[in-house]
Structure formats: C-alpha cells, structure tokens
Amino acid sequence: MLAESNARYLSLALDARKVIDALILFVKETDTPRMETLVGKVLESLNASTDRERIFSSAQRRSLFGDYERMQTLEEVKREFPTENIGERLQELLRNDVDAQLRKKSAEQAIQFFCALEGRALERYTQAMDM
C-alpha cells in the first residue's frame, strides 16, 4: 500500500519554495542562472499541463503540475490572481531584452504567486493537524 497522507501537498510546497528561493536570489541580484533554469522548468510544466496529449506521457512524472492534486491547487491559486497571467509573467523573466527594473518587478509578482501556491499547499498539508 502506498502511504496515504497529505505529503504530496508538502511536496508541492517544497517545489514552489525552490522557485521562490531562486526568484529571491534574482531580485537580490545574486543569482540569475538558477532562476532562469527553474523558471524554464515551470514554464515547461505549465505548457504540458494544457496539452491533452501529454497527459499520457511519462514526462508528467517530472512535471511540477503532473498529477491531479497539484493541478487542482494551481488552478485554485490562479483564481486568486484573476488579473495575473503567470505564464506571461515568467516568460518576461526569461527575456534579456526587457528592462532590468521591469524584470525585477515581474520577479516580485511571481514571488507572490508562488508564495500563494506554497501557502495553499501548506494549508492542505496541515488540514488534518488542527488540535
């Protein structure tokens, strides 16, 4: 039997945290390549999540939003940011021709989105924990 727990939500929180950490380092101007690598992976996962054919591909094993619960949580957070297109925001981050200040602002907005994702995942993980 596979262990039944909310650990998969904690795993999503940790995945979101990886991205947040990389974005913070970018904002603090200490590490750009790490941000670019991770944001690239997130974009790939976001694209895969809307491609019906890829639902039945082993690539979903490595996707940030490969399983049903992760995708559900992402959709919930997207609804909390109705004016934000996280895909476009992340694409801006990868563009070197965009003004540095604008990229920094995009990074901060992305930080808020992924903090919401992390927070929602932590909320789910701790649901059964209240005293």
Partner: protein, 486 residues
C-alpha cells in the same frame, strides 16, 4: 536587528530546537539495540540533514531582505515549509528506532532482500524498515525521497536521500509473523515501480489512455482535461497496486495471495448475508486501490501464467474457494463508489477502462522479472518432504530427497542418485508452510498429546509454533545454502 528580524529569529530558534529533538531520537550509539545497516544509514542521514538545516537557520534572520516586504515575507514563509517538512521527517524516526533487529522478521527480510537484489540492476538496493501503528504495510520511499531531495534544493549542502534505499513500514506487532509478512514483497514492488524506465512507464500510460478512450468512446472529446487527469491518476494508482501484487506473486509465490486474504479477512466474502455485505470485497473503497476481489482475480491470472495455479487448486482450504470465486465473478459485478460529487459521471467508465489494463501491467512485470525463477519447480520438488517434517514438528531447513523405498532400490542398481541432502529456498518453505498452516493444523494437533484441535486458543498457539518453525527453517536454510556456495 529590527523587531521584525528579531521575531523571525525567535521563530527560527523554535524550529532549530524542534530539529534538535528529532535528531536526538536518531542517536542509536551503543551495542543494544542493534540495527540493520540500512537503518543506521537512515539515522546518520537524518542527523546530517538536521545539522545542515540548523546551519541554515543560524543565518536566516540576518539574511532577510528588510527593504522589501515581498521578499521579507516570502523568506519568512520558508520557515513554515521547513517546519512542516521536519514534521514529516519526524513521522519516520520513532518507527525506525523501534524497528531494531529484535523487532523485525530478520530472516524473512534478508531472504526477500537477497531475492530482490537478484533482479537485474537492483544489486545494491536496500530497505529501511519501520514500524507502523496501522495493521497494514506501506512503502514510504517515494515520499521520503521526494521530500528530502526537494529539501536539498532549499537548504545549502543538505544531503540527498540515498537512491538505493526503499522505506517499508510493517505493523509493529508482527515481528514474529512470517506468513503475513510476505506482504512486504508487495511493498518492495512499489520501490521497483518508482524505478520503472520511461519506456515501461510510457507503455503503461498508453494502455491507460487507450483504456479511457475506449471506455468513454464518443464522450471522450467532451471530457475536460481535469476529468481526464483524474481518471488517469485513479487508473495509475490501481495499476501500480496490481503491478506490486504481480511482483509479489513472482517474488514469493501464492502465499502472497493467501496473506492478503488473511490480513483483510476477505474470506468473509464467501458468506454474503445480503447483497450489500459483498461490497466489502467487491468495490474499491478508495480511489487509491482497486477492488479486493478484482485483485484476487488478477492474482489467479498471474498464478496461471506462472504455473502455480494447478498447485494452489490442490490446497484444501476455503481460501482457494475465495480465489475461485474471484476468478469467476463477472466484471459487471464491480462498482466504483466515490464521495466526490463532481466525479460521479466518470466512475463507471473509469472502472471499465481499468479492466483493459492488467494485461499490460503483467507484460511490464514479466519483462522486469525476466530471468527470475518464480519458485514453482522447487516447491513441487520439496513440498511433500517439507510437509512431512512439519507434521513431525521438525524444522524443514534440510530435507532428504530420493529417500523412498523405490528410489533407494533404483540407486542400489545404479539408477538414480539415491538420497540427497537439500536446503530448500525460502519460497518453497514459505509456500509449503502456508499450505500446511491452512490445511493440516488440525491433523498436527491430533498427533500431539495435550492440545485440543477444536480449541481456538490451542490452535492459535500451534499456528504461532508453526510460524516459528517456518521462520527458523528460512534462517537455517539460507545459512546452509550460503555455506554450500563457499
């Protein structure tokens, strides 16, 4: 330090202390109790992870970006994620500490491990063994590995969980049990499933996709991506369980099915008092596991493929009647219940899709287990001798074959090898032991002065004794075979 930083420093110190307490529980120095090498490694790993986490916590308050509320708050939230990750790690430490070598079925585990390692590419694998309060068996490797490998990316220099370790939980009260613990083989299957190649995984997902498309037919294009993903994940969960069942049957033979029936008391399904009473064995209770009777049906299919089924049919026990019932129950009897109101329109078709998938799962298991003897021939050679030994209360680690009157006569005239000493492998011992346990216990008790074969407590006491003999036989036989190889 400003007040906000000071507040975060307090929160970091609180977490630091919590990590300290978890790591302190991993301190297993001293001669007693002793632990498997895998457990020792696990404790060392947690301690190093703790040290790295604490090093990070030492500096976190001072490194906070005080000029931006967005980054400050984001960095603060990291402490919450770290705290809950350590809550998750906390769950595994005490069960590992409790599972020292006197509290685990060591001989069986070592035999299972040896067999597991004989599979191609798995020569260096090992398992951390944990207790669980549940009367059930779990594989926690995937979640432990995933959590710790993710932790590595947010804690500088944190070690990754060793790829070669699986993590298995078994009920704390069952250290002396040998028959039920054959279910551990299923949990080993989960470890193998996680290590399937992309090629094998693609094959399975294709079968799942084809099954969904065929079951929904013209409705398929109208399904949302969310619906499809839900169906896929349900079927993937069920397929993984079937994979692990097939793997376990290959590893230990039909005793796995018998242990599964015994653990969940599935023979209750032979005595339905009303239609709903069959629901217990007929329907998948969770979306994580297929129907129990359907699993048994698939066990029979694989046992036929492996040649074991004809042997199992000879067992004189109601367990075999249940297996036969599973074999002949029409697929239309199965029902998929779910409490989720948004998924009611998917249930029937998802179940239909599932019926197409076990064949592909069996193919994948057969490819992976290629070259591994399912143990039938040895069982056929030795089970009569082993049963005779057990009938006489002798531990069957060494059996003499070719010792019948006719075999000795043939040997005397140069035909045949005459009596020979053999040490059966654990697969033959386990399956014969379980067969004997199910069909010959009353006869054994009748041969002995004292116990009453109609007494539940007497029977229970001798069941325990039989398991002790079986466990001892496995232990001795492995040692004797190892000595022979030297």
């Amino acid at each position: 330090m400003n007040p906000e930083q000071d507040a975060v420093l307090h929160d970091a110190a609180s977490l630091y202390r919590f990590v300290d307490s978890v790591c302190a529980a991993c301190n297993i120095s001293g001669e007693f109790p002793s632990y498997l090498e895998s457990s020792q490694h696990f404790f060392r790993y947690i301690q190093v992870l703790g040290e790295r986490t604490q090093t990070f916590l030492q500096s976190v308050a001072l490194s906070l970006a005080t000029d931006s509320a967005i980054t400050f708050n984001a960095e603060r939230q990291k402490l919450a994620t770290l705290r809950f990750t350590w809550f998750e790690i906390h769950k595994y430490v005490r069960p590992a500490v409790n599972a020292h070598t006197l509290n685990i079925p060591s001989p069986l585990l070592l035999s299972l491990l040896q067999r597991f390692r004989s599979i191609e590419g798995l020569g260096n694998r090992d398992f951390v063994i944990l207790h669980t309060d549940n009367v059930n068996y779990f594989e926690a490797h995937a979640s432990v590995r995933k959590l710790t490998s993710e932790l590595r990316l947010i804690i500088p220099d944190a070690p990754g969980f060793p790829e070669r370790f699986g993590v298995i939980e078994f009920p704390y009260s069952q250290a002396e049990s040998v028959f039920l613990n054959t279910l551990i083989a299923h949990e080993m299957g989960h470890f193998l499933f996680q290590e399937l190649t992309d090629l094998a995984f693609d094959k399975l997902l294709r079968a799942i996709g084809d099954g969904i498309k065929a079951a929904f037919g013209t409705e398929y294009p109208q399904l949302t991506d969310d619906d499809i993903r839900w169906c896929r994940d349900v079927l993937l969960n069920w397929a993984e369980e079937i994979f692990c069942d097939f793997f376990a049957l290959w590893m230990v033979g039909p005793c796995f099915s018998l242990a599964y029936i015994e653990l969940l008391d599935l023979t209750v399904g032979l005595y339905p008092s009303a239609a709903p009473s069959t629901a217990y064995v007929m329907s998948p209770v969770f979306s994580s596991h297929p129907a129990r009777l359907f699993r048994l049906r698939e066990h029979v299919e694989l046992l036929k493929t492996l040649g074991w089924w004809q042997e199992v049919l000879q067992y004189k026990t109601h367990y075999v009647r249940l297996l036969q019932k599973a074999e002949t129950t029409p697929l239309t009897y199965y029902i998929f219940y779910s409490d989720d109101p948004s998924k009611q329109h998917l249930l029937t078709k998802t179940l239909q899709a599932f019926f197409q998938i076990p064949n592909t799962v069996q193919e994948i298991v057969r490819e992976r287990m290629s070259g591994i003897d399912p143990g039938l021939t040895e069982f056929q050679l030795y089970h009569e001798s082993i049963e005779q030994y057990l009938q006489n209360g002798v531990v069957p680690s060494t059996v003499i074959v070719g010792n019948s009157g006719s075999a000795r006569c043939l040997s005397a005239v140069g035909l045949g090898d005459g009596p020979q000493v053999r040490h059966p492998t654990f697969v033959a011992i386990l399956n014969t032991g379980y067969k004997f346990y199910l069909e010959s216990l009353p006869a054994l008790l009748k041969n002995i002065d004292g116990p009453d074969s109609t007494s539940c407590s007497d029977r229970s006491a001798w069941m325990k004794r039989l398991e002790t003999w079986t466990m001892k036989a496995i232990e001795d036989s492995e040692l004797l075979r190892a000595a022979q190889r030297r």
